[in-house]
Amino acid sequence: MGRKKWLLAAGVLVALVFPLGLRVPYHQHILIMILVWATLGNAWNLLGGYAGQASFGHAAFFGLGAYSAGLLVHHLGISPWWGMLLGPPVATAFALPIGLVCFRLRGPYFALATLALGEIFRLVFTNWVAFTNGARGILILPEFTRKLPYYYIMLAIFALSLVMVRVMVNSKLGYYFVSIREDQDAAEALGIPATRYKLYALLPSAFITGLVGAFYMNYVAFIDPHVVFSLGDVSVMIILVVMMGGVATLWGPAVGAAIYLALSEAFRARFGAVSLLPFGVLVCLVILFMPNGVMGEAARLGKRLAGRREGWGGEPA
């Protein structure tokens, strides 16, 4: 236990100090994007990983958060930073009816329904030009010219998401989530109201996703519906990032995000537009040979080693 605390303290210290040593803004940008994806992954993991409701439409919440910030500037001329306050509740407010409707469906049908909803948001935001400025998107002037302030803001959001997932999963809620994932009928038979607990997973998930969306608007300073509501580049990519790192593991999304960014940035220079090719190949390989992702397989390996040392009786918690 003591070792874990030291490790955490060291991790926090490195996260705080490390970017100061990076002189190239591009490198700082990569760190920020890793945090963005890791946080999105954390949010998705709560619903998709722990509660087992694989959403293929999280871009809806991301886009709603981003547009909450962008439209404040566009229509009212209010600083987009207020969007960080507005975005998460807006995303959560939309998540409630979406959840109530979609949680009637299970497994692949739930996945398809969320996929369709995400696409509907993209199409509406593209076509409702009077309100959203359509495909031209929204351009703002970024607040800071340096990357570091953004890094620390995003780091705080990431830490928030991490603490939130940890606290929720280690509480009674976490057990309810897993029981719904493993066997919904059995969970309901034991008196767990499945839909309500799925909502308890969805609403915080949408909240964090909306928050990251609002941050993205402030940081990147340009959004359009095809970027923030993208099925392939947001909804599906979140899932792949979590998958790669390890579904239903605390650090999985962060590891997956690091791998995703490292691969796609490394190959962007060489292949240009097709930088996703190596990532796609890796996704296939991971699913076929490491179905529980990097952290999941690591945990399994660790358990096996520990088991060998202590005999099979001692199951580490």
């Binding site: 998709g48 990983g49 087992g52 694989a54 409707v101 009637r104 469906l105 497994g107 692949p108 049908y109 996945a111 398809l112 329904a113 996929l115 369709a116 909803l117 696409e119 509907i120 199409l123 509406v124 593209t126 076509n127 994932r181 099925l231 392939g232 599906v236 899932i239 792949l240 998958m243 579904v247 239903a248 292949f271 537009a273 097709v274 996703l276 090719l277 990532f279 796609g280 190949v281 996704v283 296939c284 699913i287 076929l288 179905p291 529980n292 999941g296």
Partner: protein, 292 residues
């Protein structure tokens, strides 16, 4: 009135070709019970194969499809044999693993095509591309009419194959009950491989028929994945008549949406239908047909 007729006719013609693509998907979903998000990418690869035939050797798309179909059949068999069938024996937390594997396949196919052809828009200009004829005051685009007729021909051939041949019956048996089919001596793993190949070949056929009508670029696959999903759910998973009706219905709905609402909201119409069917008619049109 002419406008309405025009919208309905072109909707039906386009819908017939969508239906052919969707039959490939519904076949795969019915037999393997898997969601194949790579289906549109297979359509796209088939379209590029036909496109190459046209561009390199001047083969007409309606003949080029007979090159694309066997190619895609092979590709489909390989994907099923070496990836999806393997996954049946891999344990994981999420049952959605196979969906994600097809996402991976989709990414790889799309990016490979982008590597070779770039993201440029391409099109096939044949002698009959812009030709139209009139049918009682309604103008009909020649490639649309020809494509529709060929699609209906394939549909009928598929129907005969599934109902009259041994292999076709094995496929339907596996779709109904995999275990029972195994007990009856059906080689289910082989059937799944052939089914996926067949699904991919149908995707290629539909794509080739649409090639004279659509611009071609690597990301066009998403469009067809979405459409075939809508049709599959609308028609009922695994149902051929359902897919045909669903395809025609989607074609008409989109065409009416584009005419009377707006071009941009046309796709929303399809997606809303999709959600409503998913929620209120989970068995799709198939269950309505069965109730009769």
């Amino acid at each position: 009135m002419v406008l309405l007729g025009q919208a309905v006719v072109s909707g039906i013609l386009l819908g017939g070709m969508y239906a052919l693509i969707a039959m490939g998907m519904t076949l795969v979903m019915g037999v393997m019970k898997i969601i194949n998000l790579a289906h549109g990418a297979l359509v796209m690869v088939g379209m590029y194969a036909t496109y190459i035939c046209f561009q390199q050797w001047g083969i007409d798309p309606y003949l080029g499809m007979f090159v694309a179909m066997p190619l895609l059949f092979l590709l489909g068999c390989l994907i099923q044999r070496f990836m999806i069938n393997r996954l049946l024996h891999v344990e994981s937390i999420l049952p959605e693993n196979q969906v994600l594997l097809t996402v991976g396949v989709m990414l790889v196919l799309t990016e490979l095509v982008r590597l070779v052809f770039r993201s440029d828009y391409r099109s096939v200009a044949t002698a009959y591309s812009g030709k139209t004829f009139f049918l009682g005051g309604v103008s009909v685009n020649v490639p649309m009419a020809v494509g529709f007729l060929i699609a209906m021909g394939f549909t009928y051939a598929l129907h005969l194959f599934l109902t009259r041949t041994d292999l076709g019956r094995s496929i339907r048996a596996t779709a109904q009950d995999r275990e029972a089919a195994l007990y009856m001596g059906v080689n289910a793993p082989r059937v799944t491989v052939i089914t996926f190949g067949l699904g991919a070949a149908l995707a290629a056929a539909g794509g080739s028929l649409l090639l004279p009508l659509f611009y071609l670029w690597p990301d066009i696959g998403h469009l067809f994945t979405a459409k075939s999903f809508i049709i599959t759910i609308l028609g009922g998973m695994g149902s051929m008549p359902g897919a045909l009706l669903g395809g025609l219905a989607l074609g008409v709905a989109e065409s009416l949406g584009a005419t009377y609402i707006s071009m941009g909201y046309k796709d929303v119409v399809g997606l809303v239908i999709f959600l409503l069917v998913l929620l209120f008619l989970p068995g799709g049109l198939k269950s309505l047909l069965a109730r009769r």
